[in-house]
Symmetry: C2
Subunit: 415 residues, 2 copies
């Protein structure tokens, strides 16, 4: 494992910093002075303005500008060689000992962050064994909890790209069709069981046509973001048979604003758990393709203080993003730059390591007590939910920053 | 009902023509002389080159060119007033009595057609009662055929936009995980139960944020295309629980190349069937929003002649595209210009009116006999499947052209 790479940006050298020189995550920001959103890289508490640096030929990944736009898609299109070259160049420019370039720095606290890339399509998986077992137990009973295909297929469904928003975007509680088991007919009302899903999102950085191997899939993944797939459990329970979740998952999905690259996570690779059934060869992993990344969920009631609800790790997943992507192409499905793959809710084995309130409160039956003494089964209006994550190196961490959203009351609509 | 509007393009006046002046469907074509794909409108056996006409200021829907690009999205963005104005202008330019403009015409037989629009996202519904009942009977038994939510919700799932292709594109038989009920474990192999789905696709022409009414949804729909949602039934059966179809529907979806506008279909509006359960108010239709459109499926074995397998009508649908779109937004889901909504397979009550081979052969148990004497349960390599559709006016029809695709043998891949 590498040590901390020191930077002339002093705040990047703090052991608890999310964005040391080892990280170099990519985002899109605007600085409120009438400038357009543009590409930047986080370093300590600053952003290095790549649009300005490109304008002055400090970085020149392409023969044309790719950082003056509000998305990283154009840069991703350039391919893995360009990805590696930019990382080398930025490491050089920002290293301790290099000539400081303070005029290219902007305070993170002073900017607005935007979606870091244009989401082409969004697919959400179901790759945590504990989560699948917990939810299956609640929806279908413990004897039918894990579907028979689950140990063979990285189960996933197509989700809604237009609903993906950046951290900080307020989320309006949705309406939908609700029907309790004892209700004669459904009604149209605001969801009463609105929930989070603690996930990791993988971003496809290279297109493909036709089936690709797990190894190729791993190489096509540009980076990762924290992902909260807001879910209306009451809408889901009534709508999801037989074609899967639809409006229950279409209100919003929040992602963290910084793309942590696969390159930055390289020192933290981890294996998927031991196989309970042998996988078909097209899904075999030639090397460890998960990461050791600590994850947590916090809930802050309106005007209150945060309670950490859950702590878990990405290495709980049964299938890696590379396996998911390879499976995604198995039918010949074309993939595009900017496709987003959600891991599925990540839950550990213990109650305090579950990735959704549905699981933490066991279907709403066992309320969770906050540090303030209040209780929660599901999200209440005004609550802010925050995901955090990071990989721990020797004297540094590769962090993701926060992935946060506050729930606003439902719209006033008839129905 | 209006009569035939006569055009100076003589082939547009034939009673059996798909593209009379009453239709004016929009497509994207290239003419093989090195020119780029561009926008055109079909008239009889010709295409009126809108890119050329715009260049000469014959049509000027915007202050900037919108027809020199290989998609109709930019024009759709202009909104319903611009849509209506272009239709008026084209009707004027192409009417009998107007000065003929033969230099703007290209033979349809001489061009290549391309995707008429960029698909933002693709959602597939399940809105035909007979289809839902038939498939439900086969997958879950007749007693559980129609899911309890079906009469209340236009059931749909997010499908894969990157897999949508234009009519004429060859389709490679997919591989996938297959497991029969008596198999101990799944295997990775070419699908043996590859199928069609006869559908209509609705194209969203205006964006929305938050929930919209059925009436607004109807106004936001720009037009329609025939849609064949190729489906691997054996992959589907093993993968679809609990999150719905995924790789079984990701190989390809074929659409017809001409967008038939909602305006052209206006004389053919029809009501959805009588409600078996009262719908919640947010789904109520303020007026008839389906159309009376005859549909058919033909199968042509390699080197053989076509057999018409099935004939049905769009007005079999229980939910209109406007109801589907309104439901799609009920959770607050944002919609974008270029979103494609598949109706779901359209099946009538009789065996000869079913929209999939799964239904026609009743799960592969009752082979269909072709006119050549051959039989089919599912698609064989080399078969070409063709959808056709049209609305019948007085002495004219508003046709969709063909939506066709030939199945090529599966790739040679390990597994």
């Amino acid at each position: 494992m590498t040590d901390l790479l020191r930077s002339w940006v002093e705040s990047a050298n703090a052991p608890e910093a999310d964005f040391p020189l080892n990280n170099l995550p990519y985002g899109v920001f605007s600085s409120g002075d009438g400038t357009m959103p543009r590409c930047g890289v986080a370093i300590g508490e600053k952003i290095f303005d790549l649009c300005a640096a490109e304008g002055d030929d400090l970085v020149t990944p392409a023969g044309h500008p790719v950082f003056d736009v509000p998305y990283w898609n154009d840069f991703m299109e350039l391919g893995p060689e360009a990805w590696a070259e930019l990382r080398v160049r930025l490491t050089e420019l920002l290293a301790e000992g290099a000539e400081p370039l303070p005029s290219y720095l902007v305070d993170q606290a002073a900017v607005q962050m935007h979606m870091p890339f244009r989401v082409s399509e969004y697919t959400d998986f179901y790759a945590s064994r504990n989560h699948a077992f917990n939810v299956g137990s609640m929806f279908r009973g413990p004897e039918n909890a894990l579907p028979p295909n689950w140990l063979h297929i990285p189960i996933g469904y197509n989700a809604r790209a237009s609903s993906v928003v950046v951290s900080g975007t307020p989320i309006i509680r949705p309406h939908g069709q609700l029907k309790g088991p004892d209700d004669a007919a459904p009604r149209f009302a605001a969801s009463q069981r609105f929930d989070i899903e603690l996930e990791m999102g993988a971003i496809v950085g290279q297109p493909s046509e036709g089936p690709i191997s797990v190894e190729q899939a791993f190489e096509n993944i540009f980076g990762y973001v924290l992902l909260n797939d807001w879910s209306a459990r009451d809408i889901q329970a009534w709508e999801y048979q037989p074609l899967g979740p639809f409006q229950s998952k279409a209100t919003a999905t929040t992602i963290s604003p910084w793309i942590v690259t696969a390159a930055a996570l390289e020192p933290f690779r981890a294996s998927t758990p031991e196989r309970e059934r042998e996988l078909l060869p097209y899904l075999a992993e030639p090397a460890p393709m998960l990461y050791d990344i600590a994850l947590e969920v916090g809930l802050t009631p309106k005007g209150g203080r945060e309670t950490v609800l859950s702590q878990t790790n990405l290495n709980e997943l049964y299938y890696s993003a590379a396996q998911q992507l390879a499976h995604h192409t198995s039918s010949g499905c074309p993939m595009r730059v900017g496709d987003l793959l959600g891991s599925g809710t990540i839950s550990g084995a213990e109650p305090h390591s579950r990735g959704s309130l549905l699981e933490m409160s066991w279907g709403g039956k066992e309320p969770v007590t906050l540090d303030t003494g209040e209780t929660r089964c599901f999200i209440e209006d005004g609550d802010t939910l925050t995901l955090r994550g990071g990989a721990q190196g020797k004297g540094y961490r590769v962090g993701f920053g926060a992935c946060t959203g506050q729930i606003l009351p439902a719209r006033e609509i008839g129905g």
